[in-house]
Amino acid sequence: MYKNFFQIIRAGINTTFQDQGRKNLNHIGIPFSGAMDNRNYLIANKLVGNDLNSPVLEFAYQGPLLKYSGKRINIAITGDVNFTIKNNNTLINGNCYQTYLLEHGDELDIISTNKSVYGYLSISGKFDLKYQWLSCSVNTKANIGANEGKKLEINQKINLLNINQILNNKTLNYLNTKIENIRVIKGTNFDYFSEAGKKTFFENEFIISKLTDRMGMRLEGSKIENLVDTNIKSEGLIKGVIQVPADGNPIIMLSDHGTIGGYPKIGVVISADYDKLVQLTPGSKIKFKEVELSSAETLFKLYELETQNLISQI
């Protein structure tokens, strides 16, 4: 029998296990998946002393309420998140990027993310999870990954293995910053759009709509005019691709995207801006700025360096 586990008292809106994602299966219709905000995912693992590619719990908007049973364990939460730790006598208001000790009977209440979408919970140990194609990442549309490919449900039990208690609490001084300008490289169907359409894309504001999830982000506010054709022969997609269907409202493909799509691609979000893009909440205004491939590569190197610096500070 398991001695250490979380009981799910409230599941949250979209709470799933995620890790680095799964490679080399796009050709059979299985997308990459993985933690949406990779930087915050890595930091969560480093804080509790885990391998950086360990599975964590990802939550969106409202997180889960978890009751802990077992021996002492460290936890950390990353992102911009409101949470409390409750035991018999006390209520602690938690800070992100700091480890906490959980004891038998404690309740961890991940109340909400602040003006952001995703947050991460890591533990100094392992969630007892089944790997599927070398990854635990849950894709709820195809029911792939740990927890039978489903999000967490109320009253569920999550068993834990190999618990280590870290002796010293760890903290990282880090503040998530927001972006409004999303940098993009022109897409392979850029010339499908009228001069006015291209201008709209780079000069107007777009608003992130409520129809946004791990698969994609739908934008509204300005319509992009197409001159050539509103459909293309279906072809492969990658995360960050911005497709424009016939209605002129762009859709950005995110980590759980369908692997094939038939709408013209006007642009692709650069890798350096992806983590920050996915954290923008519905209603946020964004603008697209064009960059060349070489700048995008440099910007990614800088972003990576910054991530590595943060990790090495822990």
Binding site: N26, G29, Q132, I238, V268
Partner: protein
């Protein structure tokens, strides 16, 4: 051969094999896909072949566009090499409960259901690509008189195993999903097996597929 290679964003190559959607072009795509896959090139983390394009995505931490482009341009690909197509027979039941759109097809194509099925069952299909949803095979080509448009209003839920037709293609819904194809039957065969660690999908690009009619009793007893 690849007509043009360009970048799709900063972490993928877009290999363009032309505008046409036909077996010849698609066979070239599949040969490139298989050859690149076999090479296990460092940093490549996905290959997505489609009718006439191949997208090669890579980990920008490990490599970049110029490196991967050079490697792919210098690959020695034997375009005359046999595809080694696998042949697969898919049993389907066309009972009224399963052939949800056969009446619509009769009206749109102006062909009787008997003729539609006769044509469909006599065909050997070529798998152009798999995807959109996990394991879904895009099988072509239907004869010109068998090509119908998608439903005006897609179904919210198409049952698992449904076999549908749209334009020049037939496909199989590997699990319940929204969709707009004209459904003409259902297969009890598991086309996509979630629990298989290797080769979870039965039908791969380049495979040859025929359909065989089964009765409702055979359908019910199929997995027993």
């Amino acid at each position: 051969m690849i007509k043009n290679i360009s970048n799709l964003g900063d972490a993928a190559l877009y290999c363009d094999f032309g505008k046409d959607v036909n077996k010849d072009t698609n066979t070239k795509v599949i040969k490139y896909f298989k050859s690149i896959k076999k090479e296990n090139i460092l940093g490549i983390d996905n290959l997505t072949p489609s009718y006439n394009k191949l997208i090669v995505s890579f980990d920008l931490k490990k490599t970049n566009y110029q490196n991967i482009k050079k490697l792919i341009e210098n690959l020695n690909i034997d375009i005359n090499d046999d595809l080694k197509n696998k042949k697969i027979e898919v049993p389907i039941c066309i009972d009224d409960d399963f052939s949800l759109d056969i009446k619509r097809l009769e009206q749109h194509l102006k062909i009787s259901r008997e003729k539609i099925y006769e044509n469909f069952f006599s065909k050997e299909f070529f798998c152009y690509m798999t995807g959109f949803i996990a394991g879904m095979p895009f099988l072509g080509d239907l004869d010109f008189n068998m090509r119908a448009k998608r439903l005006e209003t897609p179904r919210v839920k198409v049952p698992k195993g449904s076999v549908g037709l749209t334009e020049q293609f037939a496909n199989i819904y590997t699990f319940e999903s929204p969709g707009g194809w004209n459904i003409i039957g259902n297969t009890p065969l598991n086309i996509f097996n979630n629990s298989k660690e290797t080769e979870p999908n039965l039908i791969n690009p380049g495979d040859l597929v025929t359909f065989k009619e089964i009765t409702i009793n055979e359908y019910r007893n199929y997995n027993v």
